[in-house]
């Protein structure tokens, strides 16, 4: 799974590297990211050294633009392009940087590969086509344009959006049900306690009538034996849905693990309870917190 860096994580990194306060770093980053579209809305080009160039060009010769012009004179088309800086381009493409085009002999064929004619190859950066209907301003309508093929991603956006809303509703409904269930159990536990306090032999009363009362014993913590091909990160990914939660497994087993980088194979690890450390893979703040703690712990062993 691809690591996703959000504003919060970027703020933490900038705070560390630039030796400034967190508020200053956050204010700078917010301004940095909001200034880019603001500047592009006034000027057509913005060059950021070592990052790349954002260009916004008005187009008039596109087929779509022509067709729209016939229907409605108030429709405008803009092309947004980001061209990465040469240094960034080379460093991200490091694995293939020294590969060159190889002349193919006749008879050699790669049926599964796309064939690109010379004239088509010129377009390398991905472009975003922005349609602006001045009658219906501020209604987003994005089309992604890549090379000469048109990909109707925008057509699927409402369907995907609706599916995302349904999934979110299901999760919300399930979590509220779980909370309600937990509350119910808690109230039942309280009732049991008050009853047992009144009875002269509380232990007997609870154990003999276990079918009617919920089990008051605390849940046994889960234990896992570290397999040769496993790491704390892999276990965290399997158990909690994100690698960054490895640090809590480390905390829970700190008495057995001297160095989190060297964990002995076969060691029995006690799994932390999700509620104990606020483990929630769906919450970016929880993931960011775990990452920050993890980085802090790892620094101790560098």
């Amino acid at each position: 799974m691809k690591e996703e860096i959000n504003l919060q994580q970027l703020t933490l990194l900038l705070t560390e590297r630039a030796d400034i306060s967190r508020q200053q770093a956050e204010a700078f980053l917010k301004k940095f990211f909001t200034a880019i579209p603001e500047i592009l809305s006034k000027e057509n080009l913005l060059e950021i050294k070592n990052l790349g160039t954002f260009t916004l060009t008005k187009i008039s010769d596109e087929d779509d633009a022509k067709a729209a012009k016939e229907e409605n004179d108030n429709t405008l088309y803009f092309k947004l392009r980001f061209s990465p800086a040469e240094t960034l381009k080379n460093s991200t493409n490091k694995p293939f940087l020294y590969f060159e085009k190889i002349l193919l002999n006749e008879g050699v064929s790669f049926e599964e590969l796309t064939v690109v004619e010379e004239k088509e190859e010129k377009v390398t950066a991905e472009e975003i086509l922005i349609k602006i209907d001045r009658n219906k301003a501020f209604v987003p309508n994005i089309k992604t344009k890549q090379k000469t093929k048109k990909k109707p991603i925008a057509r699927w956006m409402p369907v995907l959006g609706a599916a995302a809303v349904v999934v979110a509703l299901i999760f919300f409904f399930m979590s509220t049900q779980r909370k309600a269930q937990a509350l119910k159990i808690n109230t039942e536990k309280v009732t049991v306690k008050t009853i047992t306090n009144e009875t002269p032999e509380p232990d007997l009363a609870v154990s003999t009538d276990s079918s009617q009362t919920p089990n008051p014993l605390p849940k046994e913590p889960e234990k896992i034996q570290l397999a040769p091909d496993k790491t704390l990160r892999l276990i965290a990914l399997e158990k909690f849905g994100n690698r960054e939660f490895w640090v809590y497994i480390y905390y829970k087993n700190k008495d057995k693990i001297k160095n989190p980088n060297i964990v002995p194979i076969g060691i029995e690890l006690i799994m932390p309870d999700k509620s104990e450390y606020d483990i929630d893979a769906s919450n970016p703040q929880s993931v960011a917190k775990a990452k920050a703690l993890g980085d802090m712990e790892l620094k101790k062993f560098q």
Partner: protein, 94 residues
């Protein structure tokens, strides 16, 4: 707008010395670049996503002599703006 103008614009808005703004900008760009090289993506609310994408190898045909070449794969940086970014651009036309 050039990098220098961008630094000046940010300095004015943040009420910072241009040299300090340049330092912060350089550090920010370095962090973004490092993370992109590591294979992570930068996802920012009100901006969009900066991500890397692998373009597979392909056969390139030269127009003049119809010679065929096997072109290597390439990892490129792509930017996908989100709706807030697009809205700000749209203000230009209205």
């Amino acid at each position: 707008m050039t990098n220098e103008d961008f630094v000046n614009a940010l300095s004015q808005q943040l009420n910072l010395e241009p040299s300090k703004t340049l330092e912060l900008l350089t550090t920010t760009v370095n962090i973004i670049n490092e993370k992109l090289v590591e294979g992570a993506c930068i996802s920012i609310e009100d901006f969009g996503i900066l991500d890397t994408k692998k373009k597979p190898e392909y056969i390139f045909v030269e127009q003049k002599n119809q010679q065929r070449f096997l072109a290597p794969p390439e990892i490129t940086v792509v930017f996908k703006p989100n709706s807030s970014f697009i809205d700000k651009i749209k203000e230009k036309a209205v």
